[in-house]
Symmetry: C2
Subunit: 301 residues, 2 copies
């Protein structure tokens, strides 16, 4: 049950501030480069919602852990997410010149710097996780090893990078819902699941709790994508920041194209219900996760 008094907006602002302070401090420390830091900072501060780090911290809190114990993992996850956006936006890939209303990294700093800034962020994520492993107390080391494994796997060829490769390969090719869903589970789902997974492990979650949080993250991750596709068809461009029907114009494989608008919307609802169901084993410490799930359905951008 969602506690009525829980203020999601305030919660998200607090968590974002918590993440951002640490994230920027890590970048200052790990990336002193005059050539690369401006590009890295530009992309990291370009208005991201911090979905992955917040899921990591909220997953940690849901199992009764202290979110501070998951903060380094949360920052590493956002670094990996940001690098993937920088490389995805490049001319050879999606060729996007705007993201969240800001010029993309290669538009602002040139393609060469954008490629290196992306590389830098991916590498930095592992520098951070490496420090966390080395600095962990004896009993925490196995948890950090699990996190390192979960995050590196989710970000790689059996996760996000494979999803990006499939997304490229599918451009202009008609695929079925199963293939679309498998692509999204890799391209965005894997890192979203890894976020909740890492947080739960660092919060000392039981195997059962971890499994439920992974299921939750899987469902809300997919739902988020379905809602994105729906908003592209019927959203207000002033609010979504994208032109209506741009997916259709680019012949992208989307849920509305495959299922029709009404069934796509119903599917998004169903996924959120499954996500909330997965949280039923948790007490009110999972209220932020419940509120995030409901927000995905209710959002307009």
């Amino acid at each position: 049950m969602l506690t009525q008094r829980f203020n999601l907006k305030e919660y998200l602002n607090d968590q974002r501030a918590f993440v951002d302070a640490a994230l920027l401090a890590h970048i200052e420390r790990l990336c002193p480069s005059a050539h690369l830091k401006p590009a890295v900072i530009h992309s990291v501060t370009a208005g991201g919602k911090r979905v992955r780090p917040i899921l990591c911290l909220a997953g940690c809190a849901a199992v009764g852990g202290d979110p501070a114990d998951a903060l380094a993992a949360a920052c590493a996850l956002e670094m990996i997410h940001t690098y993937s956006l920088i490389h995805d936006d490049l001319p050879a890939l999606d060729n996007d010149s705007l993201r969240r209303g800001q010029p993309t990294c290669h538009v602002r700093f040139g393609e060469a710097t954008a490629i290196l800034a992306g590389d830098a962020l991916l590498n930095m994520a592992f520098e951070l996780l490496s420090e966390a492993c080395a600095g962990a107390g004896v009993d925490a080391v196995p948890r950090w090893h699990t996190v390192l494994g979960v995050v590196s796997r989710a970000a790689g060829c059996r996760g996000m990078i494979e999803g990006q490769a499939r997304d490229l390969a599918f451009e202009g090719v008609k695929i079925d819902q199963e293939a679309l869903e498998a692509m999204h589970r890799l391209k965005t789902g894997a890192l979203i699941q890894a976020s909740a997974h890492a947080g739960a492990v660092l919060g000392h979650g039981s195997d059962r709790q971890v499994a439920h949080l992974i299921r939750y993250a899987d469902r809300i991750g997919l739902s988020f994508q379905v809602v994105d596709d729906v908003l592209n068809v019927k959203g207000d461009p002033a609010v979504t920041g994208k032109s209506v029907g741009s997916d259709q114009a680019r012949r992208k494989n989307t849920y509305p194209a495959l299922l029709g608008l009404a069934r796509a919307e119903a599917y998004a609802d169903q996924l959120i219900e499954q996500g909330l169901q997965a949280l039923s084993i948790f007490d009110n410490k999972a209220d932020p996760l419940r509120a995030i799930a409901r927000y995905i359905i209710d959002r307009d951008h």
Copy 2:
């Protein structure tokens, strides 16, 4: 003293075969992707000399360790090196269409796939190191944490990536020897040092041994670069695979341009002598490292 009977060519062939078998097996396992594996394999098998993995294994052996204990680190280092070449060759960076006589990754597979294949290799290196950490026995864990820290730092914004950024920034700009040397120490030196460092740590080397091997790697790494520049001026293009004077034509900052050819050659010799000097504390288990140092000076490509 260099043992006369030591056969460097045979040694290098054996080590390459040892590394390659493991490297390809790791790629098969960690990168099952139909979209990315061909590009990854293409670049990994495009005739690399395996300098970094061999330094890692030889560093391990020099301190009395079993090179098999350093094999995962050796593979990770070659993955990182290969990713850096793929991204460096991209049109936005060096725009090279040939490397070691083979079409570069983006020429063969397209730019998008090349960017993702580079990302995949960097990520894979950390998947491999993550597995090594998780699979290490209790007493080996601190050594693997050191390796993870050393490698991730050397590859990042305080190492290789910063070197690439400076190399780009210096294009067509006249710099002094100090700036050139700092750039090379970052761009190639950091990962070469990390290779010997990682091997020595995994071979249970003492702090003093590790420090001497880092010094050795620093000197031969720099010398390698000086010899490269010299060969570009006076090498046989049929052997070097590059046109004579191509660096000059591209207004690259080189040692011959800064010091003149004769002083550049003398400097390369001096660096090798310093590298050999750093090995004086080791017995004949460091003979491969001695032979590699001499080979750098004597090579013609």
